[in-house]
């Protein structure tokens, strides 16, 4: 979907890990995984091509390219839970100057850059679906949602972006 000021696209297949670890163990777990598990609330940290989204004091969603299979083989030396949810979630990229407006059609967060700057991420709701929302760039948002909710989220985004379709006969 690409219209005036808004592109909605299915994200490329990715490796996704749900990582749970005590705050004090996060550095060790992160080192073993080769990704920095940040402690700043609701902020993403990118280590080379691996992104760790802070979802809670003991929870991160790690995203990496599908080719990064090494990420799935890491052994972690402290108690932690690292669960492969690569296929459990589906990613949707919402990109363009109208992206925030489009998301706000189904989500009430303040997405002004002063409140939700680049690197901000959070678990939230979109319509009736639970999503993880991450601002990857000024006009680039990533939505991660449960695989079976993706068609619903997609349909909501499609409805929202129709606001920007040129109306028939307007020219």
């Amino acid at each position: 979907m690409a219209e005036d000021g808004i592109t909605v696209a299915r994200a490329a297949p990715a490796i996704r890990l749900n990582v749970r670890a005590d705050t004090h163990a996060a550095a060790t777990v992160g080192m073993a995984l080769g990704v920095l598990l940040g402690s700043a609330p609701c902020r993403a940290v990118i280590t080379r091509q691996r992104t760790a989204l802070w979802l809670g004091p003991d929870e991160w969603l790690v995203l990496a390219p599908e080719t990064d299979q090494a990420l799935l083989q890491q052994i972690v030396p402290v108690p932690a839970s690292i669960v492969d949810v690569s296929h459990g979630l589906a990613g949707i990229d919402v990109i363009g100057p109208r992206a925030a407006w489009c998301i706000n059609a189904f989500n009430a967060l303040d997405l002004d850059p002063s409140a939700f700057p680049v690197t901000a991420c959070t678990r939230t709701v979109f319509g009736k679906a639970q999503i993880v929302l991450w601002r990857a760039g000024a006009d680039a948002f990533r939505i991660e949602t449960a695989r079976s909710f993706a068609p619903y989220v997609w349909a909501c985004l499609d409805e929202a972006r129709r606001e920007f379709l040129p109306s028939p006969g307007a020219c």
């Binding site: 749970r20 932690a80 839970s81 949810v85």
Partner: protein, 258 residues
């Protein structure tokens, strides 16, 4: 279930270093069931010997080149497998099995098949009052564990007494008559109304395999009543039924384990 477990983790077992993550959406599942299941699946499985895999076991393996979990389990009474794959890799395996001759079956067929075998559906054969022992599953409950959720309840006098309503099979004298689910069972159809109701029908179907009707029921002291004739009064007449074991198909399990 996830929220229930999270609740327990936080309130009852905060000392455990345990985290919970739902993988419901991560895994796609194909239930491949029937006498040909093994032969059909074998060409797709790279690294394990299906013949050596026993009923109620699980193995990690490669299916269609993808890391999979393979369960030898059955909710149909036939020998079969449940193939777990990351959801995005499921479709090619599904298509390969269809290509090999598998037929998709829906929940109605599954309900029928599991009833022939006497496999319960929680919420259909059971409600909140039915214990594992009522279902003949008492042996699955640990006697050794010092605690588990529900252990205290199972010791309550009414839940541990004998003669409770127990799972049985019912066979109508006329094999073409299919009982109504929810219908009540009485001992004497000509007795004074209201009659003492001994139990009720929980599942009833016409079985094509057996060429007759079958039913599952919860019946007072049911296990001791096998062989007895009881009655199901309906608006248009009284239906005599024989009480049987709650299993109508392959009671020895030869097909299941074959």
């Amino acid at each position: 279930v996830l929220h229930h477990m999270e609740d327990y983790r936080q309130t009852e077992f905060p000392h455990l270093r345990v985290w919970l993550t739902s993988t419901t959406e991560q895994w796609g599942v194909i239930a491949l069931q029937g006498p040909s299941a093994r032969a059909m699946l074998a060409p797709l499985v790279q690294d394990i010997d299906l013949g050596a895999m026993r009923h109620m076991t699980v193995q990690s393996c490669q299916i269609g080149g993808v890391a999979a979990r393979l369960f030898r389990v059955s909710f149909t009474g036939e020998s079969g497998y449940e193939i777990n794959l990351p959801a995005g890799f499921l479709q090619p395996v599904w298509e390969a099995l269809i290509e090999a001759g598998a037929t998709p079956y829906g929940t109605d067929a599954m309900h029928m098949l599991r009833a022939e075998k006497g496999y319960i559906i929680v919420g259909q054969e059971t409600d909140g009052t039915v214990t594992p022992d009522d279902l003949g599953l008492g042996r699955l409950i640990s006697r050794g564990k010092h605690d588990f959720v529900g252990k205290r309840s199972l010791r309550l006098p009414d839940l541990s007494r004998t003669g409770r309503r127990q799972l049985v099979g019912l066979l109508t004298q006329d094999p073409r008559t299919v009982l109504e689910e929810g219908a009540q069972i009485v001992a004497d159809p000509r007795g004074a109304v209201p009659a003492a109701m001994l139990g009720h029908v929980t599942s009833a179907y016409h079985s094509a395999t057996l060429d007759r009707s079958i039913a599952l029921a919860l019946l007072e002291n049911g296990r001791a009543q096998q062989g007895n004739t009881l009655y199901v009064p309906m608006p248009d007449g009284v239906i005599p039924v024989g009480v049987t074991a709650p299993m109508f198909y392959d009671p020895g399990g030869e097909r299941l384990h074959g």
